[in-house]
């Protein structure tokens, strides 16, 4: 197979990017495992991934920069984010009997409250922001 010399730097950069992405994903997997171990060890009633996110945010704030490896790993994970939710959604078949029995309550409660939650959060935030901006403009 022939390689065009002008493609070689691009290929090398692509390979380096793939390696960085894989290393980055490996770091996040390892971090969650370590935090999960800590959560179990100390009997904390908190989800390990959320705690890992909080700890990593503090770590980055302390270090004041984001390593390229982590950036590449996060980019790869975010591109595939929806894929990771397929298995927990498929697992709903395990509680299908309860879902069928209370379908109306579940359907209306979930859909109405999701609309309400979205609207209230967005409108309250927008209202307060406008009020603050108005006060800011009125300040001499």
């Amino acid at each position: 197979m022939k390689h065009h010399p002008e493609h070689q730097p691009e290929d090398a950069a692509e390979k380096a990017s793939v390696v960085q992405s894989v290393l980055g994903v490996g770091f996040f997997l390892g971090l969650v495992e370590v935090v999960d171990w800590g959560v179990r060890r100390y009997g904390l009633n908190l989800p390990a991934p959320v705690l890992a996110m909080a700890l990593l945010t503090l770590g980055l704030a302390f270090q004041k920069r984001v390593p390229a490896t982590l950036s590449a790993g996060a980019g790869l994970l975010f591109r595939l984010f929806p894929l990771f939710f397929i298995p927990p959604l498929v697992a709903i078949v395990a509680v299908m009997d309860v879902v069928v029995r209370s379908w109306a309550a579940l359907l209306f409660a979930v859909s109405i409250s999701t609309f309400v939650g979205l609207a209230v959060t967005a409108l309250v935030f927008r209202g307060l922001r406008k009020a603050q901006a108005g006060r800011g403009e009125g300040t001499p």
Binding site: L31, A48, T57, P87, A105, S113, R126
Partner: protein
């Protein structure tokens, strides 16, 4: 079917569904999660097909989901200044969105005379799955149902959230991210992260703050109301 094959089946279905989603101009009802879930849930209901095999085969995706949640520290750190600048408005909006979301879900459940266990499972609908399971156990809900409600809530928010917010006139990423993270937890956050860095960061912050606050406050409120 060998459990490991389920991983590739899920991957293939997702890839095909994602291509269809992009080719049709990102129609909300063709969200790339929807089609694989419908197909796989149907397959799981067939005789001789075991859900436990599917769960074994796709365990890697579960670990990657946990890793992706931890990775949200990056957009959160990069956009911390924008969130901090509006700290008061962000906090009040989160509390209002969280209380109204849980309150309206419970109001509908009681109005439709849902059993107490179903109502207790619905109370966790807007917090991330691991927290929802813990809280459901604490207040007498059904953990598996709580997990299902959480996931479906997230899917509803991810599918209808962006067009609904657009109709409300929400055109900035910070507001949309806060709403998606508060009402749609991790799936809403995934949708937000796929749209912009700031939207993803706001959603990550909203999801974490709402989840942790609900996990601490809901069991207390539930025990007080009996």
């Amino acid at each position: 079917m060998m459990p490991a094959l389920w991983f590739f089946v899920t991957l293939g279905l997702y890839a095909a569904s994602d291509m269809l989603f992009r080719a049709t101009g990102r129609k909300p009802w063709l969200h790339p999660v929807l089609l694989p879930v419908i197909v796989l849930a149907f397959v799981m209901s067939l005789p001789g097909v075991k859900l436990v095999d599917y769960q074994h085969g796709t365990a890697t995706l579960h670990h990657l989901l946990m890793a992706a949640v931890a990775a949200l520290a990056l957009p959160l750190y990069r956009n911390a200044a924008a969130i901090r600048q509006e700290a008061m408005a962000v906090s009040v909006a989160l509390v209002a969105g969280s209380i109204s979301g849980v309150g309206s879900a419970l109001a509908v459940a009681f109005w439709l005379k849902a059993p107490a266990t179903v109502a207790a499972s619905l109370a966790n609908k807007s917090i991330t799955t691991p927290l929802a399971i813990t809280v459901a156990q604490a207040i007498g809900g059904i953990p598996a149902l709580a997990a299902a409600v959480v996931i479906v809530t997230g899917l509803v928010a991810a599918i209808i959230g962006p067009p609904f917010l657009k109709r409300l006139g929400v055109d900035d990423d910070l507001t949309a991210g806060l709403a998606l993270g508060t009402a749609g937890h991790a799936l809403g956050m995934a949708e937000a992260a796929s749209r912009s860095d700031l939207m993803g960061a706001a959603a990550a912050f909203a999801m974490a703050a709402n989840g942790l606050a609900t996990a601490f406050i809901l069991p207390l409120l539930w025990s007080m109301t009996g």
